[in-house]
Symmetry: D2
Subunit: 154 residues, 4 copies
């Protein structure tokens, strides 16, 4: 795992380090309803947290995901993976670190790291692969306008 | 709580007892992901179970809820209540007993009992109040055709 | 609904207005996974948001709920109610306003208002009733030490 | 994807085909609360369905998962993957096909197929990797007694 400057710890700020892909950090906290009888956050919630991170990543691009859907384009999940390393407990705060690994008119790949708030130790890592569809679920391509905004580095 | 004939214990069968409203019983089981760190089913899940029961109640009426939505009518929840009496644990089986308390062109009220599988002891009780809207969320009335089917006793 | 000073809009700050019960405001945002096919937040999520508000209310009291559980006391939900007034959509921000209506050694009642972020229009209102149990689910009473902290007004 | 005899379509029955690993089929139905605003089942639910399938697979082995936990052993998820092929909609019925791919005292790997009810077309496929821990989360090994039961073919 890479290091990044301390300034990155302010959640929701896009961060750019020389020679690296830009990423964002979002802070979240484990809800009581997200724990299970083992006393830890249930595995399915990590995919919700990935999605929250993805939403914030795209929001930084001046074109919130809900606007993309209003224009008739959907980034449908076709693959999702998570590796769990450390348990999360009720009320724990943590960071979701999101990076855009690949973006073409037909496909997007996001990768995620969940990190402890204080020491930034890895909690989990994963990725999601998305294809582009219209509102009826038919495969299509993202127009250049949207593509350019998401790809922009600033 | 009322008694009902043993034949009622076959889930999903509509039951009619003289002088009583018809009801249905649906069997469900607590998922691992529905437990919380207290080791019991989390309070929010009961509202999902109420909804499963409601879906099955309407299915018995020869007009599944998804068909009602396809016709452009939505039974939007405007009130929901639950009283919790006994905890439910992982893998517990239980019955959802659903009754239609009120139905007018503008409004529906369903009431629910959750019961232990073996002794039919009360686990929880509650109700939901619904208004009728179109696909844009504007308040409307249920047409006579749908109303008649849901009201039919058989 | 009552008015409150603008300063209250900073989330998570306890607010005290002359002659009123103290309350807190927590800001939340609708997750994609919390919407349903009607395009609005599903009714069950409101009870999760109530819980988030409750957690923050107790955190203000210098005794986070997780500490109360570590001491062996659980505030078990025995009743939950919600009235839905305005729909919430994906990515909408809103406030959860939480008030402690009643607190005795045996029982706590919290009430909630969900409010639009900009104009503070009511989205939903509700309450939860809690009894006190030990880790085995046996009814008990909250010790004076915890009770005093939660009741403290500052 | 493999074929299997029609008798397999009765849910929850373990099936054994010459030269293949035994598997089970569990029937589930999409809940309204499991849909999102795209009108399809949200990606996180598939991991809950995998878990339901896993629970039923182990139940067939005469040692329900809750009994394994009571004996002090936990099959903690350390990896989860899903590939999504066809959307699932509200009220759709489908099969979860579960197979045990690997089982050692330290590790278990389950694989899953979600299939349409009528034509058994693939909806999704995936797997979960589990390690064995005690109730405190310390890595341990499954005793021979439990291992033998889960491995038994009948």
């Amino acid at each position: 795992m890479k290091n990044w400057p301390n300034s990155a710890s302010s959640a929701n700020s896009p961060v750019r380090v020389e020679g690296e892909k830009p990423f964002i950090l979002v802070e979240e906290r484990v809800r009581y309803s997200e724990t299970d009888q083992m006393g830890v956050a249930h595995n399915k919630n990590y995919f919700e947290w990935f999605e929250i991170g993805r939403t914030e990543f795209i929001r930084q691009k001046k074109i919130p995901y809900k606007e993309i859907e209003k224009l008739g384009y959907y980034l449908v999940v076709v693959e999702a993976f998570c590796r769990y390393k450390r348990p999360l407990r009720y009320d724990d705060s943590f960071f979701i670190r999101v990076e855009l690994d690949e973006l073409t008119p037909k496909k997007a790949v996001f990768s995620y790291l969940l990190l402890t708030k204080d020491e930034k130790k890895p909690i989990a890592s994963g990725y999601t692969v998305h294809i582009v569809t219209d509102s009826k679920g038919t495969v299509t391509v993202l127009p250049e306008e949207i593509l350019g905004k998401i790809k922009a580095v600033y």
